[in-house]
């Protein structure tokens, strides 16, 4: 039943708009509202502020600004919010992306260039939207799958990559209590999850059914396994000193003195190993352009590439944050924010706008110091790109297996000596418990 295109008439146009509005209203009243109410009435609702959150309470809270805050407070402590937004995915991605942008500008300045400049809003901002432009483009790009590729793995590997990176992020506390999953085996869990990455790289490179990705995947596997051991050993000396595997406890236990003072060699080994784990210059062998095109990313296109890049950004954030927690005292730092942010007896609208009561000065201070240290470490991880060439695979493996492991052991003995001398550790003379 073909439709005949009508001549344009303003009346018809108005009529069509009215029709659309009418249909929307009908659908709303007949379908959506009942559904909403069914959900609200029959799904057990959590108590907020001592009252059970009924739809009517919800509506009244939305209307009254002063009563909105408890809902928001409740919301930001729910697990989905934590996973998706604040200590989790979006937060980490934004931090990583912002730092990557700063790094691009910084590298450009180092190389006497200006870097991204025009991709801003109305010509201002020195190209701060460069990564947004890259992201938009990557999303809208065609995804090519090579013939003969193992399609399920080819699709699943990038998603697994991001998911694994997000899982690492979920274990990282940013402030006391602000962690998605506060397990007692946090450190072990981090290493366990990091162990998935070489597997994903190898799977993806095998699934690509192409030669350069295969070489890249093998390189990634060799490199990550070679550096896994010094990585874990260097973190082990921290565990010895802190007496705990819980990341929050580790951060808390270095309250007066950061562990980097006692374990500089471990910190160095950890830093180098995390560079290798992240495939950053000078250890970007799995993606070495001049040798093996783009390594195991050679066959990625469109959003597959975007997802893997996103995952690696998350990884950058996670490993820098881990470095901060293990060696730089986590969120500890001088209190520079007042305990009470904003006037306590402001009018309700101001209270809502400043989100008063949701946080206190201590938390904000902790997050602030955590961010400062983390961003500093990310910059430190990205900077070798400007001054260092790529290393060769046999030198890299030699470094990993022969040198870094020995160095990690050296500092572990130092840590043990400190414990037995009663200087540090539980009940040590220098630790406050």
């Amino acid at each position: 039943m073909a439709t005949v295109p009508e001549e344009f008439r303003f009346g018809n146009f108005l009529a069509s708009i009215i029709w659309v509005v009418l249909i929307v209203i009908v659908v709303l009243t007949l379908v959506i509202l009942p559904l909403t109410f069914i959900v609200l009435f029959y799904v057990p609702l959590p108590p907020v502020n001592g009252e059970v959150l009924t739809p009517y309470l919800f509506l009244s809270m939305v209307v009254d600004p002063t009563r909105t805050l408890p809902i928001v407070k409740y919301l930001i402590h729910t697990t989905p919010f934590k996973v998706i937004v604040f200590p989790g995915f979006v937060f980490a991605a934004i931090i990583a992306a912002a730092t990557i942008f700063v790094e691009r500008k910084f590298l450009a300045k180092m190389q006497l260039r200006v870097g991204p400049l025009y991709a801003g809003v109305w010509g201002v901002g020195e190209g701060i939207l460069q990564l947004a432009a890259d992201g938009l483009k990557v999303i809208s790009k065609e995804i090519l799958i090579p013939s003969g590729a193992d399609k399920p793995i080819f699709w699943a590997a990038p998603i697994a990559f991001v998911a694994t990176a997000a899982a690492v992020v979920a274990l990282i506390p940013v402030a006391p209590g602000w962690v998605v999953s506060n397990t007692n085996v946090g450190l072990v869990a981090v290493f366990a999850i990091l162990g998935f990455f070489p597997l994903i790289a190898l799977l993806f490179s095998w699934a690509s059914n192409s030669k350069y990705p295969f070489i890249g995947g093998l390189r990634a596997l060799h490199q990550m396994i070679a550096f896994e051991i010094p990585f874990i050993l260097s973190a082990l000396s921290v565990v010895i000193l802190a007496g705990s595997l819980n990341l929050t406890d580790i951060a808390k236990s270095q309250h007066p003195f950061w562990f980097i003072l006692f374990l500089p060699i471990s910190a160095f080994v950890f830093f180098i190993s995390s560079l290798a784990e992240l495939e950053r210059v000078p250890f970007d062998l799995p993606e070495a352009e001049s040798e093996i095109v783009a390594g195991w990313l050679t066959e990625t296109s469109g959003m597959i590439y975007g997802l893997i890049q996103l995952g690696s950004y998350l990884k950058v954030y996670a490993l820098s944050a881990l470095f901060v927690i293990l060696f730089l005292g986590g969120w500890s730092g001088p209190q520079i924010f007042p305990h009470q942010l904003g006037p306590p007896d402001a009018i309700p609208l101001v209270k809502v706008l400043t989100l008063q009561g949701l946080y206190n000065g201590v938390t904000v201070n902790a997050i602030f110091w955590f961010l400062v240290k983390t961003i500093g470490i990310i910059m430190l991880m990205l900077l070798p790109r400007g001054i260092s060439p790529r290393i060769r695979i046999d030198i890299l493996l030699h470094t990993g297996w022969y040198k870094l492991i020995v160095l990690a052991f050296v500092n572990m003995f130092v840590a043990l000596a400190l414990i037995y001398a009663g200087i540090l550790g539980p009940g040590g003379s220098l630790s406050i418990h």
Binding site: M110, Q111, P282, L285
Partner: protein, 386 residues
């Protein structure tokens, strides 16, 4: 010899062992190029056993444009613009030996000031070429700053050449009988200022690149080309000098004013990739020294080119003239039959000669050494293909 063998890295020795033991069903064939970030306008087919290259077969010709055939259809002057295209960033040197050969055939004499300006332009262009080469070597090693810095400093030399010749890279400056135009006012001071700045920059290059321990680790002991091999393979330029043969056309067969210039032939005896990468750098320094002398000795006034007839022609005969370009000896063999057009032009370029060393050096090396060895050969594929 014995000390050179000591320098061969462990991985290279293992590679040679693996090359001996490999058989066909273990090999993976890789086509490196022409769309490969580490190949340029070139392709070579390598066979890998594990990470070791056991076989390498160069496949040039992606930029073969038939220069030698085209010369037979143009007269001696018309040939200049297309003959400089193969090495667009060393265009003064590639037309230099052509001009010398045509001058020999037609009997044109170059005025003394013209000879000096030629030599100055040639040395400036050598800097431009070597800086570009160094930039690419940097990015091949994964050192992005080493790509940007020489590219930036190269622009300053390009500015000088632009002031001198009027074009950015394609100068068409050397013609039979001299150069196209005189130097602009204040050129000498500008040039000297640039050289002083540049010598400071060279120290920084050395700090960030050549003295970088990672660069040392990657290049030293990799791709040893012994003196005997270098001579029998007939390599030239920096590759030859890195193997311990102090051979430079400017010294061996001084053309124009080079016999009045006091300079050293820079060479090294270690014969590895580092030496091949370091000798061009030493050449750049020496070239600064040569430039100062040239600017100092240049006559203040005088003609810069001889009077040319519309279609220069000479008696039938042949000439083979060489200059030292950025990639080594660059020779033109021209046969003239008495007409204004050459009967046959053969361009003997350094890149084509150095290509022979590529399979020789790559066999037994690791895949990761491939860009290190390849680009240290001072190879420019466009020139090799002609």
């Amino acid at each position: 010899m014995a000390d050179l063998e000591d320098r061969i890295s462990e991985s290279q020795k293992m590679g040679m062992q693996i090359v001996k033991e490999s058989d066909d069903d273990r090999l993976m064939t890789l086509s490196v190029g022409p769309q490969h970030p580490g190949s340029g306008h070139f392709r070579f087919i390598v066979k890998l056993d594990g990470d070791y290259i056991v076989h390498c077969d160069p496949d040039p010709g992606y930029v073969h444009r038939g220069e030698e055939k085209m010369t037979e259809y143009r007269n001696f002057i018309q040939n200049i613009p297309h003959l400089e295209r193969p090495v667009i960033h060393d265009s003064t040197n590639i037309t230099y030996s052509y001009s010398l050969a045509v001058e020999e055939l037609t009997g044109i004499e170059v005025p003394r000031r013209g000879q000096f300006i030629r030599a100055i332009a040639s040395e400036l262009n050598r800097q431009v070429y070597t800086l570009y080469w160094l930039a690419i070597y940097g990015i091949f090693l994964g050192h992005s700053t080493m790509f940007m810095w020489p590219t930036g400093d190269r622009e300053l030399f390009i500015d000088l050449l632009e002031a001198l010749t009027g074009a950015r890279v394609t100068h068409a400056f050397n013609i039979p009988g001299g150069v196209r135009n005189d130097v602009p006012n204040g050129f000498k001071d500008r040039c000297l200022r640039q050289i002083t700045y540049y010598e400071k920059r060279l120290k920084e290059y050395e700090d960030i690149f050549y003295n970088n321990p990672l660069v040392r680790q990657r290049t030293e002991g990799v791709g040893i080309l012994t003196k005997e091999d270098a001579i029998s393979l007939g390599v030239t330029g920096s590759v030859l000098r890195a193997s311990g043969v102090p051979y430079d056309i400017r010294k061996a067969e001084p053309y124009d004013v080079y016999n009045e210039i006091d300079f050293k032939v820079q060479y090294m005896k270690t014969a590895d990739s580092f030496a091949r990468a370091y000798v061009p750098f030493l050449d750049m320094r020496e070239s600064c020294h040569i430039l100062r002398q040239l600017l100092d000795k240049m006559p203040e006034a005088g003609e810069v080119r001889a009077k040319l007839q519309a279609n220069p022609r000479g008696p039938p005969g042949e000439a083979y003239r060489r200059v030292e370009s950025g990639r080594g000896a660059l020779g033109y063999y021209i046969i003239s039959d008495g007409t204004p057009k050459p009967y046959r032009v053969k361009i003997s370029v350094g890149s084509f000669r150095n290509m022979l060393a590529l399979p020789h050096l790559l066999v037994g090396a690791k895949m990761g050494d491939m860009p290190v060895i390849y680009w240290a050969l001072n190879y420019w594929p466009v020139e090799a293909d002609r």
